[in-house]
Symmetry: C2
Subunit: 595 residues, 2 copies
């Protein structure tokens, strides 16, 4: 039998190996016939090596080689020789040599693939890529991201281990506790008609592990959420889950900062520096309109309520009267921006319910625009000072309900930054956003809900407000933000069962519901619970940042579509009648049209 | 606020720290009042430290300490002092010192636990342990096993990384392919009435990754099986999943052997030696009656068919006539074994359908027993030689259908070995069992089924038998056996789509079924598939062996009961009507009586 165990992979050989007999195995990336000689670029996960088939050496092997097509799997024995003068390829690690083939085995033929493998610059429709994921990965773009994902996971594990954290695997077959997103349900056969739920996070388990005295826990955990998917979400996602006892947010911040430093050092060789700056939730919203500000560039939102109040600008005054706000952005050197461009900006904020933008440009002669007339010289001076307006700057003003103005200007700010190339490359601006509110009002139901989750501890200083004015209570919750993405979210947990019960009550859990869903957990808190806290970092997002992609499906080996289906496996699929009978379920499967 | 961040954990302090001011936090393991002084053993995951409260130092703190009960969570500031003469506890790493408490904070009170935490020797009913798992873990026995599990997982990952294997996470939401055990089904909301399945193993995905060119893959993977549970099974279990391209079983054996060496070195500091011996499946069954022989002790099964044939022992002759076999064990120095004891042995083999045991004892005067008369002197001599019978040995003879005799004597052999302490402690006898048959006959359906799984390659030498005599075809499959446990199972895979289709046909898959379940996979094989092979190691079993437990629930943080329920979470549970409506499912939940 032909011995196809390679002696080298396809990235290694160079002129130091000249004269050596080698075995290489891999895929035919490309074949070229050149005046008698046949050249094949042999490919594996690691790289490319050029093979040469010389009819003078063996006519039969040369003939066999001439039948070979792209993507066939072959193995060869041969001799490393230098490339002919002028044929050295400096872009390839093996570009100085080629391998003269002495024996050839065709291990596996291949149909013509539905898209080109060797030319990964050709754009392929994503559905086709997913259907033939095994070929898509072969193109190299996804595979290099999977390599990075592996590196990252290992770096996380070794770092957490060095800090005395234990990785503890928690169950996938859990209990449905419908308080966050929608659960995926798994049918029980032993207890027909009952269901397990897939975990949205190991939250309850990690807190139980603290009650168990495990002290420092982490896990790279698969989590599940049955939601209609936004472009950057997947029904299964991965988080780096961390929990620790007898510590404070400062202690956790340090661990997370060191972890991130270790990750960036190991994966990219970059020193990101630490500690990370802190910003209150309130300041983030005020200054950037979002709780995950991208601070790689400036251009803050500036509030102009008081100045507008003294103006005669009736449109804006009207918004203020309706409890709205007025905020503005200053675009440096934006005076050249056309009216048409500003109309496009209006459509950006328009998506968030902002009806228009007022604008002014600064020239050496002062502000120009049709709205200047509504402001006195003093007021214009005040705007200029507050917003640090210089010559050739453009200011854009939005008015309306606070959350709409914030959302609109946040998006506009980032839109302009991308458009005007204000974002520095390879810059990683981390930020802890602190002092989130404990509760918020669900706009659909008008109920009070937990901003973070119901296990978050209120800020100890705000305990007295819990009954009087719960919406004013700050949580001991914090987010880690990087370049405008929420990378981690965490909190100090409640470790007192009475306080936990009270929070559930504030969240309008009925006694019955509470007992059924969290009764055991409130009981567990009564048996000696240490102060504990933790966070969860989005692993998929970190890989996306490390590999510079905006597509979450690029960093997952076998992702789902936005309809949560797997077009390669053709899943989900109907159950057999035998399966349904055993589960005592009735189902009428909707027919799925697979691509 | 009291600063409860500890300066040391409870295992560290010794007389080098005397005089130092420290902060300790943890659980009250035990409190003792001794003539004015109060002693508290403070416990954390790491160890115990003795605290002393002296009323002369502070009456108020002493008073507070007198209220403390077991399992309360406290934090103290204090000074390390030497223990009084004669009070040193050499069993404790902190036994030379105690900490004189200067400040005390009660962080959390505790109800009296349902079982003792500080005395883990007290036996607790397993259902109660599982219901209060968070307290059970606190008792230390489980927690030390979870620490070992963490160590093991990290050792595996670092070793596999060092061998260029990439950890690639494969999906949990998969497709039901009911060919092995029963799948767990997850209801789809987007496509109502359709289901995902939880993976029984990542088999298809790891083979697709080889087709993708990922070359070397591994994963510590959660797997799921909806089966009625044997004592050592769990519905969710973990395997170390490995796959590689362009290699042979010998190459994989070496990697697995080095992996096991690394594991035992890292986790136990033991050098297990390598390479591991090989044994054919046929020899294992013949000599040990099982495909996972425990070779830590001798006592092989010896076939006596030919000798019995020449005897006048009609009972055994009858069995031979019915295509049965006669096999025997020799128990060294077993002559003292009583008839009553032999009756117990008969009940062991009786469970496998063997009606009784014939026996003979060897004394200097020759064999004794009521069956000696059936054998001539020559035949007795032949038995003596074949079985290496010495004075004072006992031989036990079983007859019947081959698989029953094998099963019965395998169990009896191990039963006797345990009973007579023939098994050496801390000995790890690894063994590769090779040349499994490709197919077997399912006794219930009488159909031909895959012994390993349908992706296993037939032995290349036996290809010609596939059509003629498939039951004679050997598979390129191998198991790694340790001390009588199957630790890993693997095979060379089929990398030719035509052969794969043929095997599915032999296994009586209909074209339609095949297309629906594995169509995409057979297609994938057509696009250039490298020769590949792999295996899966049972991680839970390895932890059990490393931590010397026979109970799989000891090595899983939150295990399920044998009815696949979680008595702590009370899962599974009924879905809400809203959930069922969204999934378009009808279910009538069976009521579950929770403990």
């Amino acid at each position: 039998m032909f011995d196809f165990r390679r002696t080298y992979d396809c990235r290694t050989l160079n002129k130091l190996h000249i004269g050596e007999k080698v075995t290489l195995s891999g895929w035919v990336n490309k074949r070229r016939d050149h005046g008698g000689l046949i050249f094949i670029d042999l490919r594996d996960r690691f790289g490319l090596t050029q093979l040469v088939f010389d009819p003078k050496l063996s006519l039969s092997i040369h003939e066999k080689a001439s039948e070979i097509r792209n993507e066939w799997v072959i193995s060869i024995h041969g001799k490393v020789i230098p490339r002919a003068e002028g044929m050295v390829n400096p872009k390839l690690s093996t570009g100085e040599i080629e391998v003269q083939v002495e024996e050839l085995e065709i291990l596996s033929k291949a149909l013509t693939p539905p898209f080109s493998i060797c030319d990964s610059t050709i754009d392929v429709n994503e559905e086709t890529r997913l259907k033939y994921r095994y070929l898509d990965i072969r193109r190299g773009d996804v595979s290099s991201k999977l390599v990075m994902r592996h590196k990252l996971m290992l770096a996380v594990r070794n770092f957490m281990d060095s800090q005395n954290f234990l990785e503890i695997t928690t169950p996938i077959l859990c209990k449905s506790t419908p308080e966050g997103a929608r659960d995926y349900l798994v049918a029980s056969r032993v207890y027909p008609g009952n269901f397990y739920a897939l975990p949205q996070s190991p939250q309850i388990f990690k807190q139980l592990l603290m009650i168990s005295g495990m002290d420092r826990y982490f896990q790279i955990a698969q989590c599940f959420r049955d939601e209609d998917l936004r472009a950057d979400r997947q029904p299964e996602f991965t988080q780096i889950d961390i929990e620790m006892s007898f510590n404070t947010p400062e202690g956790l911040f340090e661990i997370c900062e060191n972890l991130m430093q270790h990750i960036f050092q190991t994966c990219l060789g970059i020193d990101i520096g630490a500690p990370f700056p802190h910003m209150s939730h309130k300041e983030a919203l005020e200054k950037y309109g979002t709780d995950k500000p991208d601070v790689r560039f400036d251009m803050p939102l500036v509030r102009l309520d008081d100045i507008v109040q003294k103006s005669t600008f009736s449109v804006l005054l009207e918004e203020l009267k309706n409890e709205g706000v007025v905020k503005a952005l200053c675009v440096k050197n934006g005076a050249e921006i056309s009216r048409k461009q500003i109309e496009e900006y209006e459509s950006v904020v328009g998506k968030f319910g902002i009806k228009g933008l007022a604008w002014m440009k600064k020239s050496p002669e002062g502000f120009t625009s049709s709205i200047v007339k509504f402001f006195s010289e003093d007021l214009l001076k005040e705007i200029e000072n507050r917003m640090n307006v210089e010559n050739n700057d453009l200011i854009l003003i939005a008015a309306g309900p606070q959350d709409r103005v914030n959302q609109g200007l946040d998006h506009l700010r980032r839109h302009i930054a991308r458009q005007r190339n204000l974002i520095k490359e390879n810059v990683f601006e981390f930020l802890w956003v602190m002092d989130f509110p404990m509760f918020t009002i669900d706009k659909e139901t008008n109920d009070i809900t937990a901003e973070h989750h119901p296990f978050t501890s209120p800020n100890f200083e705000d305990m007295h407000l819990l009954d009087k004015d719960p919406l004013k209570v700050r949580a001991l919750a914090y987010d880690l933000v990087l370049n405008g993405y929420e990378l981690a979210s965490g909190s100090q947990r409640i470790h007192d069962s009475a306080l936990q019960a009270k929070i559930f009550k504030l969240l309008k859990f009925s006694d019955e519901d509470l007992k059924a869903k969290f009764g055991f957990f409130i009981d567990a808190l009564k048996y000696g619970t240490p102060p504990h806290l933790g966070c969860a970092l989005g692993l998929d997002r970190i890989v996306m940042i490390l590999t510079k992609t905006e597509n979450i499906r690029d960093v997952i080996a076998f992702p789902k579509t936005q309809k949560a289906s797997d077009v390669m496996l053709q899943a989900p699929s109907p159950a057999t009648s035998q399966q349904l009978k055993e589960l005592k379920l009735k189902a009428e499967p909707e027919k799925i049209a697979w691509p």
